[in-house]
């Protein structure tokens, strides 16, 4: 059988299994193994333990469970509530102030958490009911949280950058630095949109009548100071050169546990056990996909698909930026259908060699890819943040949630265009810090 046909059948099997609600790691792993068996006989199957060992024993991934633990520890602390309360006190005079507060809290929470759904859940659980009770339209309220929750992937620490590093060998610290400016820019663009829309259509987001004294504002800021201190500790220790991203994750996770126990008094043995158990569960559910995606990738490698794609892309007689825009469009479509981690894991080994051959910086491409993932997690039908939003605020209608995030796709597309036009937005800081 021709290699191309085998790969096509393996992809078809993958799609069918995913449609049947087979766990994604099983779908990826089994279609990869069967593809290898047909392409290569038994010696292809022998690649299975080699691939699992190679991908899961990749040092860059050591940071992944540690950042998940850090987020899980903070999630039980009640910090999300404090963050939102503080942001509310500062944004109360602004049109759409609660929406802006939600984006701002997601931004700060995103600087502590590496996973977007935990940000949506923690911020959404407080912010959305609050907005609804003050007369905000459901689409406006849920859109601001579902979209800004994804900032956790772009603003370091970021599980997606860790995964990209584990595939390409790009430095995790440099990728983290590359996400800072685009992440803050995206956050600012989202806040500007929320404020602008609330000014133009006050009916969607009624003005806040509450007023807060400067004393109240400063006290609210004081209550989140330990958390901000943790951000400074984690990111600061990476960029001052005190620690590697992995060490910063371990020390940060330990500090988050201590903070939750001592400052928030929310961590006994029962809670510690639950935090560790959920870290293992969340970590394993993601890393199982990471490992299985690598098995699938090995099947593509044996069939020489990355070489073929690279030769094709480099051979195209068009300016490189056209190729880049085309890649972004393909990713947008795939992002509707595939979850963020699988998308990153499967397309990176195929596209990164081609993009490098075109003369682009792989670090910059990693940042672009993560902005694409920002879109992927909020595009239906497969958009993790949308369903997380629905599950934490069940009274929301899915159609309202879809409608609410649509404008943010345009904002993210604009950021993509900006990053393609001005690559320094992503590459300047890594060059300076690393």
């Amino acid at each position: 059988m021709a290699d191309g046909l085998v790969v096509g059948l393996a992809v078809a099997l993958l799609v069918v299994l995913i449609g049947l609600r087979t766990p994604i790691f099983v779908a990826l792993g089994l279609s990869g193994v069967l593809g290898l068996l047909v392409l290569d006989g038994w010696r292809g199957v022998e690649l299975l333990p080699l691939a699992l060992n190679a991908q899961l024993q990749e040092y860059a991934l050591v940071a992944a469970p540690l950042y998940i633990l850090l987020g899980e520890a903070l999630a039980v602390s009640g910090l999300g509530r404090d963050l939102f309360a503080a942001a509310h006190r500062w944004f109360t005079r602004v049109p759409g102030g609660l929406g802006a507060s939600a984006v701002a809290s997601s931004t700060v929470f995103g600087a502590m958490s590496g996973v977007s759904i935990s940000s949506v859940a923690v911020i959404g659980r407080m912010a959305v009911p609050e907005m609804l009770s003050r007369g905000y339209r459901p689409a406006f309220a849920s859109g601001s949280v579902a979209a800004s929750g994804a900032l956790a992937m772009l603003i370091p620490p970021s599980l997606m950058f860790i995964l990209y590093s584990s595939i390409t060998g790009e430095s995790t610290a440099a990728l983290f630095a590359g996400g800072i400016v685009p992440g803050l820019l995206l956050s600012a663009m989202m806040i500007a949109y929320v404020v602008g829309r609330a000014s133009l259509r006050p009916a969607e987001a009624p003005r806040d009548t509450e007023t807060f004294s400067w004393g109240q504002r400063l006290r609210a800021l004081g209550s989140v100071a330990p958390a901000l201190g943790l951000v400074v500790l984690v990111l600061g220790s990476i960029y001052t050169g005190f620690a590697t991203p992995t060490e910063a994750a371990a020390v940060g996770a330990l500090a988050a546990l201590v903070m939750t126990a001592v400052l928030y008094r929310a961590l006994g043995w029962t809670e510690l056990r639950a935090v560790l158990a959920s870290t293992a569960a969340v970590g394993a559910s993601i890393l199982a996909i990471v490992a299985a995606a690598y098995v699938f990738t090995q099947m593509l490698v044996v069939a020489r698909i990355p070489d073929t794609v690279s030769d094709f892309v480099v051979g195209l007689d068009v300016p490189p930026w056209v190729v880049m825009v085309a890649i972004m469009l393909v990713l947008l479509v795939l992002g509707c259908l595939v979850d963020a981690a699988s998308l990153l894991l499967v397309v990176t080994p195929i596209l990164e060699p081609a993009v490098s051959d075109l003369g682009y910086d792989p670090l910059w491409f990693g940042v672009l890819l993560v902005v694409n993932l920002e879109m992927a997690v909020i595009t239906p039908p497969v958009g993790l943040n949308l369903y997380t939003m629905k599950s934490v605020v069940p009274e929301l209608d899915m159609a309202e949630i879809f409608r609410g995030v649509a404008p943010y796709l345009l904002i993210e597309a604009a950021l993509l265009g900006l990053l393609i036009a001005v690559p320094e937005l992503a590459t300047f800081l890594p060059g300076l810090l690393i």
Binding site: G41, R43, E46, L50, N53, A54, G241, F242, I434
Partner: protein, 320 residues
């Protein structure tokens, strides 16, 4: 028995699958890979299907991948093999020869040392077809030059292999393992103070912009080798075996010549231009370094556990 060769193929089934973790950009080592495969095919052997850059098998997977039959020919740095199969350590020991020309002669695939190594590897179903004895490693540092063993005391030195690790310990430093992708930042942040490596590691990761000193002596060395399974080789027809042997010779002769020329004419000038001061210890300092690293040989002899073999290997190295 175990690991039954159900998936193994003979060259009659099509191109032989070869794999290496070296990408095309390593212009000191990659030409050796190409020279080997060309020579085999020219000598009437099989054609090859090469997966480079670790796409099929990464550095840690090449040897297990070879042994389960996922590839039939692998190109691998000896340090990844010698921790499992210490026989190769004969070429890696600090101050083993002290003269690169002799060091290079010792590794002739038709010479007695490779024959002895292959006798040992045969027990593990591995065959060394031939290899390139890489130019000697350097002790690279950022803060201070190393001239005497005392200079290493307390330093955190990145190593890639077991014998290198023993060497750093013997000098009073702390060996640190890390992936080569992390070395640049680790040096910059002071996570490590230096490293033990050959020139290629420095140039491929642009480390000359951060390293300040490179101590030049025979502190260690790896070989970059072509391996196949011994049983697979034995089952081939004599003509194919001879073609593979020709490939091993090409790696040793042409590959080594290219590598040495690239190191002398390109890599070393690049490293010096990057601001690294090359430090040549005096005879007295060399003697002190040699004496301090003497325990490494004893550790290696114990690891192999065959005094007759290690004695014979030492004799070959001395008289080459």
């Amino acid at each position: 028995g175990c690991g039954a060769p159900t998936g193994w193929r003979s060259p009659a089934d099509g191109p032989v699958r070869a794999a290496t973790y070296i990408p095309k950009s390593y212009d000191d080592l990659y030409p050796g890979v190409e020279a080997t495969l060309d020579a085999v095919t020219r000598a009437g052997g099989p054609s090859f299907d090469l997966y480079d850059g670790g796409t099929l098998l990464g550095a840690e997977q090449l040897l297990p991948g070879l042994l389960v039959g996922a590839a039939d020919l692998v190109f691998q740095t000896s340090s990844y093999v010698s921790s499992s199969f210490p026989a190769l350590g004969a070429m890696e020991l600090p101050f083993g020869t002290e003269d690169y020309a002799r060091h290079r002669r010792v590794f002739d695939p038709d010479g007695p040392l490779v024959a002895l190594v292959n006798d040992e590897l045969a027990e593990k179903d591995v065959r060394l077809l031939g290899g390139m004895p890489l130019t000697y490693e350097y002790l690279w540092t950022v803060d201070r030059p190393i001239r005497r063993p005392e200079d290493v005391a307390g330093l955190r030195m990145r190593v890639a292999g077991e014998i290198e690790g023993e060497t750093v310990k013997a000098l009073g430093g702390a060996p640190v393992s890390m992936g080569s992708a992390e070395v640049f930042e680790a040096l910059q942040r002071g996570t490590i103070d230096g490293m033990l490596s050959y020139l290629g590691t420095v140039v491929s990761r642009d480390l000359q912009s951060i390293l300040r000193y490179g101590t030049r002596c025979h502190i260690g060395s790896y070989t970059f080798d072509a391996y196949c399974r011994a049983s697979w080789y034995a089952a081939l027809d004599p003509r194919t075996r001879a073609a593979l042997d020709a490939g091993g010779r090409a790696l040793y002769r042409e590959g080594t010549a290219t590598m040495v020329a690239v190191h002398q004419d390109d890599y070393l000038p690049q490293v010096v231009a990057g601001g690294v001061e090359i430090v040549d210890p005096t005879p007295a300092e060399l003697a002190a370094l040699r004496a301090a690293t003497e325990p490494v040989r004893a550790r290696w002899e114990a690891a192999l556990g065959k005094p007759a073999v290690t004695g014979r290997m030492a004799e070959i190295v001395r008289t080459a």
